[in-house]
């Protein structure tokens, strides 16, 4: 059944009778540097405050101003807020991409566009809403210089009118966005209000999409993964952060600096209980972090793939000299400079065994902001416990986009400094200790920290061959014994890493394994497979490497296990095959490597095809 309505021109237009409520995507196409980020965040915030599960993803170019950029907001009442490939509601503000953006839409979708673009001539199967943005903006913004910046706030008002977004929430969002600039807030609010009024007077609703208040965000926050990981580091007790600017990790270091300035400066003395250093390059940033870790600080660096490549030699040193350090890798698309503003899980293999010789670096892999916070804090404990470099693997989608999350729990565990001998300990041992002796049988030796005043506390850290007492040695048996001990230490690493999250049922013979941001897409793909094909799947989300025994048992227990990777070569699958060679024939690959946040349909389609559903 179809309802008939009238367009502004008086022609009848067909509208699907079924409304689509709280389950669609809004895609805003603008020009980089035009102030659209503020409008988009206000929109996101308004939906969040209306209690609708929502996410916002920024698809941006490697550019400061002038190139096309898109912002996708996904509202989903079921809580699936991963990327959705299909665009339901397009806001076309950019003449460079408008034609292509419109042509890509499925029939029946809606387009708000800048009237002079004349997009309604392109297709006759879409709901077009032409809006004269310039005159609307000019009426409320007398200063021509500022018009460019507030123009985008007009579409917030237009969308509010068309989609039933509460204007009160738009107003609160604007006040929040411009909290320190009341004049800008007023100007932007006037623009939004003008857009709303114009739309109410001049547009007739002809699309099925609508938003309505629900109760999906009780106790939730909106946060970027980078900010969450930065907070985790702060509450994990980081004391030295050394970094070099690189997309998509820069905002992590900057957020950490901000929180440290707030919470780790002594109020009476004004002195800092931390050091943050922007280094001259990644060689220096990892070198400083290693020096600090050796000397007893809780040290970290943050970077992306190109930085990881540069850090290779130093990470091998830290592995072999057994120095604790945390590396946060916010992955972007490589190889080489690659796609610097696009997401990827392409660093799993290089991080896991970074540097020459036999190396092995534990990884923690968060999938949500809550896990970014928790794992970032824990990473310091793991690094100091294992006396080793430890990687926290985020990606651009998680790090730079806005996610809805539960409020973070204050750490309920004590900071673990690992096996460190104090002056009293060395005295009790009468100086009879060796830096690389396996006293406890777990491969983890005891260390002293520079500044320990006991005359026999000192040892010599080096990347060259050494015996159990840290003396230089080229002896074959010393070398092999040391390498075997480090291997034993790393075999025990899983004990300190987060366990996988497993969802299984008796009916599921087919399973998925994924890590990191693939999680959102996998959740939704499993729902699609169940609802559309009646096909039950099991799911194991790994959260650390080396993998847990539970992961091995899970794989062994299912006939076909699809390993979801956001890289071309199936890097997660390669690590699984490496650790579990006996069951590698259970593993199949679903790989996506286009640089966009992974969507559910890509996974669903792959499994449907391979399983012949």
């Amino acid at each position: 059944m179809q309802a008939v309505n009238a367009s502004p021109s008086g022609e009848p237009v067909t509208v699907p009778e079924l409304e689509v409520v709280n389950d669609f995507s809004i895609h805003v196409a603008t020009v980089n540097g035009s102030g659209s980020q503020s409008s988009n965040l206000v929109l996101l915030r308004a939906l969040f405050e209306m209690g609708i599960p929502v996410s916002g993803k920024n698809l941006f170019p490697s550019n400061i101003a002038g190139l096309p950029t898109w912002y996708t907001i996904r509202a989903n009442k079921f809580g699936f807020t991963g990327r959705k490939k299909e665009v339901d509601f397009l806001v076309a503000m950019n003449s460079q991409t408008a034609h292509e953006d419109v042509q890509a839409l499925e029939p029946g979708r809606a387009v708000v566009y800048d009237e002079p673009l004349g997009l309604d001539a392109l297709r006759d199967d879409l709901c077009f809403y032409p809006v004269p943005f310039d005159p609307i903006t000019a009426a409320v913004c007398p200063q021509p210089k500022l018009r460019k910046l507030v123009r985008n706030m007009v579409y917030d008002g237009v969308l509010a009118a068309l989609l039933d977004i509460e204007m009160e929430e738009i107003r609160k969002g604007i006040e929040r966005q411009f909290a320190t600039k009341p004049k800008a807030a007023e100007l932007n609010w006037n623009a939004a209000q003008a857009g709303f009024d114009w739309a109410r007077e001049n547009l007739v609703k002809r699309d099925p999409y609508r938003l309505t208040r629900m109760d999906g965000n009780q106790g939730k926050i909106i946060v970027e993964g980078n900010a969450a990981a930065a907070l985790g580091a702060v509450f994990g007790g980081v004391s030295v952060i050394t970094w070099y600017p690189i997309t998509p990790s820069s905002s992590l270091a900057e957020a950490a600096q901000g929180y440290l300035n707030r919470f780790r400066v002594d109020e009476s003395t004004g002195k800092a209980t931390f050091a943050v250093v922007q280094a001259e390059d990644e060689l220096a940033s990892i070198g400083m972090a290693i020096g600090a870790g050796w000397a007893g600080a809780r040290a970290m660096t943050t970077t992306a793939g190109p930085g990881i490549s540069l850090m290779s030699e130093f990470v091998g040193l830290a592995h072999f000299a057994e120095i604790p350090v945390v590396l946060i890798d916010v992955q972007r698309m490589g190889p080489s400079t690659g796609l610097p503003t696009r997401t990827s899980q392409g660093d799993f293999l290089s991080a896991a065994t970074l540097s020459h010789g036999d190396t092995f670096h534990p990884m923690l892999i968060p999938a949500t902001p809550e896990e970014c916070f928790e794992f970032s804090a824990k990473a310091f404990d793991v690094a100091e416990r294992l006396q080793a470099p430890v990687f926290l693997m985020l990606d651009l989608d998680l790090g730079m986009n806005y996610w809805t999350a539960n409020k973070f729990d204050y750490p309920d565990w004590d900071i673990d400094r690992g096996k460190v001998l104090s002056e009293q300990d060395v005295e009790r041992l009468q100086g009879d200790w060796g830096r690389y002796r396996d006293v406890d049988g777990d491969g983890i030796a005891y260390r002293t920290v520079p500044g320990n005043r006991h005359p026999q506390a000192a040892y010599f850290a080096r990347g060259t061959g050494h015996d159990e007492d840290a003396n230089y040695s080229e002896r074959e048996e010393d070398w092999i014994r040391n390498m075997d001990r480090i291997q034993k230490k790393m075999a025990g690493a899983r004990k300190w890493l987060p366990e996988p999250v497993i969802e299984d049922g008796p009916k599921a013979r087919v399973a998925l394994v994924a890590a990191g941001t693939s999680h959102e897409a996998v959740r939704e793909a499993r729902s699609q497979l169940r609802l559309e094909y009646g096909f039950e799947t099991a799911y194991c989300r790994v959260r650390g490497w080396p993998f847990s025994h539970a992961t091995e048992a899970f794989i062994a227990d299912h006939d076909h296990v699809y390993v979801v990777d956001q890289n071309r070569d199936g890097q997660l699958r390669t690590l699984l095959r490496r650790q579990f060679p006996a069951i590698h024939d259970h593993l199949r690959s679903v790989c996506y490597y286009g640089g966009m946040p992974l969507d559910a349909r890509t996974i669903t389609d792959a499994i449907v095809e391979r399983e012949g559903l």
Binding site: A272, A275, E280, G291, A297, F408, I415, G451, P455, A461
Partner: protein, 351 residues
């Protein structure tokens, strides 16, 4: 806690903190007999002993190469770190951030500093990281059998007779230009001058760069080399006669000086550095003068020695960062983890 002297061979003398010479020594050197680096190691042992520095509060760091092996040959009671080629400045920077109370001694070579490590060397100086950074400069790569380094002079010949076709990088010129606050050049064979300079460097707070020409007896001590013992002895031009009075000794003038013939510099720890001018118009507190004189020396084939530049009023990197009095490495959980109320505040802001 027992002291080192109780468990070690009794030293003939003890210093002002009651330690003998032994804790300041290291393992037996494995460098070639006659290597200049060994003389420098001996000066390090003597100076740290005579200055009465607690060796447990010293860290000794190096990169890769012959020079970088030498931290094993002195200060056995100090934590040591033999890191990667050319990147010791970063490791040292991190270590002093973690514990600003430690005294950092970096030992590098001309390849380690002026070639692979030039970037880190420059940025360490720019930050004025508190460290005594010694370049054991022999103009060649000894450990890989005598290739030219970036400090080898234009026209200087290798053992094989090949002449160096590229101009040298003057590490002291760079240091003066880029922010090091104590810059000196000396010669491993000049015991007295090197001792005075090293002691003054130990009393300095900030980056102290000591370029010590240190001949390689195996690969660069022949006729045609500008870093041989013979060449250095014949071509070194001392700028000053250097006197150093440590802060714990009474300062009394030796002899009379005509006005304007002596520079006296009070170091951070109260020690006195007295530079008796051998070149009348050289001013070691002027960057411009120093650079001018260094250029001239280069043109004339001189090896200019002495304190080339000193400035005691620049903040060091740990001061710039306004670090807490307690070393970051020694902070407890209460200082490291903000209270729950802080997290609650942030969560409210994000809600």
């Amino acid at each position: 806690m027992s002291t080192a002297t109780a468990t070690r061979v009794k030293a003939p003398v003890s210093n002002r903190i009651g330690l003998g010479l032994e804790p300041y020594r290291g393992l037996k050197t494995t460098l070639c007999a006659g290597c200049g680096h060994n003389s420098i190691s001996e000066r390090i042992v003597e100076c740290f002993f005579e200055m009465g520095i607690d060796p447990t509060q010293v860290i000794k760091l190096s990169g890769i190469g012959c020079s970088s092996k030498s931290p094993a040959y002195f200060l056995s009671m100090s934590h040591g770190f033999n890191s990667v080629h050319g990147r010791m400045p970063a490791v040292a920077t991190g270590a002093v951030l973690a514990n600003k109370q430690l005294m950092a001694l970096g030992v590098s070579g001309d390849g380690d500093t002026a070639s692979i490590g030039l970037g880190q060397f420059v940025h360490m100086m720019r930050r004025n990281v508190p460290i005594v950074y010694i370049i054991e400069d022999n103009g060649c790569y000894g450990l890989t059998k005598g290739q030219f380094s970036a400090t080898a002079n234009l026209g200087s010949t290798a053992k094989s007779g090949i002449a160096n076709e590229l101009p040298p990088i003057d590490t002291c010129g760079l240091a003066v230009q880029l922010g090091a606050t104590f810059v000196a050049r000396s010669f491993s064979g000049d015991k007295k001058q090197l001792q005075s300079i090293l002691k003054a460097a130990l009393a300095h707070r900030g980056t102290a760069v000591l370029d010590v020409v240190s001949p390689c007896v195996t690969f660069n001590d022949h006729v045609g080399s500008t870093k041989s013992y013979k060449y250095v002895r014949e071509n070194k031009v001392p700028l000053q006669s250097i006197g150093f009075v440590p802060h714990f000794e009474e300062i009394h003038l030796q002899g009379e000086f005509a006005p304007g013939t002596v520079y006296e510099v009070e170091m951070h720890d109260g020690s006195m550095l007295r530079l008796e001018k051998l070149e009348e118009d050289y001013n070691p507190t002027s960057r411009l003068k120093a650079l001018d004189r260094i250029e001239l020396a280069m043109e004339e084939g001189q090896i200019l020695t002495g304190v080339l530049y000193v400035s005691t009023d620049q903040p060091s990197f740990t001061e710039i960062l306004n670090l807490d009095d307690v070393p970051l490495a020694q902070l407890g959980q209460d200082q490291l983890r903000p209270p729950k109320s802080a997290l609650d505040t942030v969560m409210e802001e994000l809600a």
